[in-house]
């Protein structure tokens, strides 16, 4: 495993990129956790591997995700503030004014022990309630995202400027089809397609073909027959005069300009 006392560079690289089988990775991580030198080198290799994220096609997340995140933390802050404002119990207030001393002090021992146990139980209950509150907040936030997305979708589909185009297969893929809805004012493309599955290293990519200039990617997509028909959505430049839509087969992750065979095409 190691060269002298440390993990070899080759192993660190494979570990950082995630290509090390779990059993081998566990042994290397165990070593690294007790070795400052290997921890530092692993952090550097992880940093380098993380740069591969830049090889992914750049996408913009829907605004609704941020809206839901901020709503989620605001709800949590308000709940915490409300908990902090909760009044103390009369019993607690009374005990603070009680005189000290006397034989009855001994009674405090079992009472205190009982209170400690009760406090522990209450604390545990409080933890469980907090966890349930977190879960509920998460569910509410997710539902808010879905609701906002659904509303935006309906709004886009029903907008008067949204055009609908049917894409037909080429002679090689004559059974394939897709329907595209394009809203030029909002720069949004929605589409659904029925296409055969592809190998893992290939993907379908949707293109807007403008009247002037190079095709514009509307994202990559993978049909999943077992989940039924799926609707894909992509943000594209606004107010583009589109003359056609097309789907090509490209390497996994997509490409900047079409390179693969055309499987669907339709004039706008």
């Amino acid at each position: 495993m190691t060269n002298g006392a440390h993990i070899r560079d080759e192993e660190l690289q494979l570990l950082a990129i995630g290509a090390m089988p779990e059993s081998e990775a566990a042994a290397l991580l165990a070593h690294a956790s007790g070795c400052g030198e290997c921890t530092r080198r692993l952090a550097e290799e992880r940093g380098l591997a993380a740069m591969l994220a830049f090889a992914a096609p750049r996408e913009t997340p829907p605004e609704a995700v941020k809206t839901a995140l901020m709503a989620r933390i605001r709800t949590e802050k308000e709940a915490e503030a409300a908990a902090n404002r909760a009044p103390r119990t009369p019993a607690a207030a009374q005990s603070e004014g009680r005189p000290r001393g006397g034989w009855w002090q001994w009674l405090l021992v079992p009472v205190t022990a009982g209170l400690i146990v009760a406090t522990g139980l209450l604390w545990r209950e409080d933890q469980q309630l907090s966890e349930r509150l977190d879960e509920s907040n998460h569910r509410i936030a997710s539902m808010q995202v879905e609701q906002q997305k659904a509303a935006a979708l309906i709004d886009t589909l029903s907008a008067p400027e949204t055009v609908s185009v049917k894409l037909a297969g080429t002679p090689e893929t004559e059974k394939a089809l897709a329907v595209v809805r394009y809203n030029p004012r909002r720069g949004v493309v929605l589409y659904t397609a029925e296409l055969p599955p592809l190998p893992a290293d290939k993907t379908y990519q949707m293109w807007l073909v403008p009247s002037n200039g190079a095709p514009i990617s509307a994202g990559v997509f993978t049909p999943q027959a077992e989940e039924g028909r799926h609707l894909w959505q992509a943000e594209v430049p606004k107010d583009v005069a589109v003359k056609a839509f097309a789907v090509t087969i490209e390497p996994a992750g997509g490409v900047a300009q079409p390179t693969g065979p055309k499987v669907l095409i339709g004039a706008a």
Partner: protein
Amino acid sequence: MRPESATTELVSDWSLLERIVRKDETALSQLYDRYSGLVYSEAKRILRDAGAAEEILQDLFYQVWRTAEKFDAARGSLAGWLLVAARNRAISKLRRKTGKTEELVENGVRVSGDLESQASQNLLLDKVKAVMGSLPSGQREAVEFAYFEGMSHSEIAEKTGQPLGTVKTRIRTAMETLKQVLS
């Protein structure tokens, strides 16, 4: 946490993180604007599912909000951690595995370049795309299978029909090329 640099006009990640520890929502909003595109793009490339990528994006920044005080600058870069954590979560989801949530302190990630400004992110984007485009197809394929599909070297060897040693060499050579270009 590291003290804020007074020389940069851009608010540093560390400064934003310190404000997040004090529960400043605008700081989280700024951090989200800075890295959400990268995190989302990475998760979506792995999962090829916008909804699942959105879920990872939201959960990751929620974790930053909840546990910002645990992050230690000595262990590396916040941006690097976000990218690694997003990748790990997406791969776990892709492979239907359940993994525990990464603590901010657990995984040190040291990024040599600056990722805080849009300009620096664009520059890195160009460099990484150029490197990936210039790699021989076998090297590019091996790196993509490992990073974006979560395949081990032996799984890649089986899938591509190449000897295990060849797969390891391809990954190593590709990563060395990336290191040279980015250094």
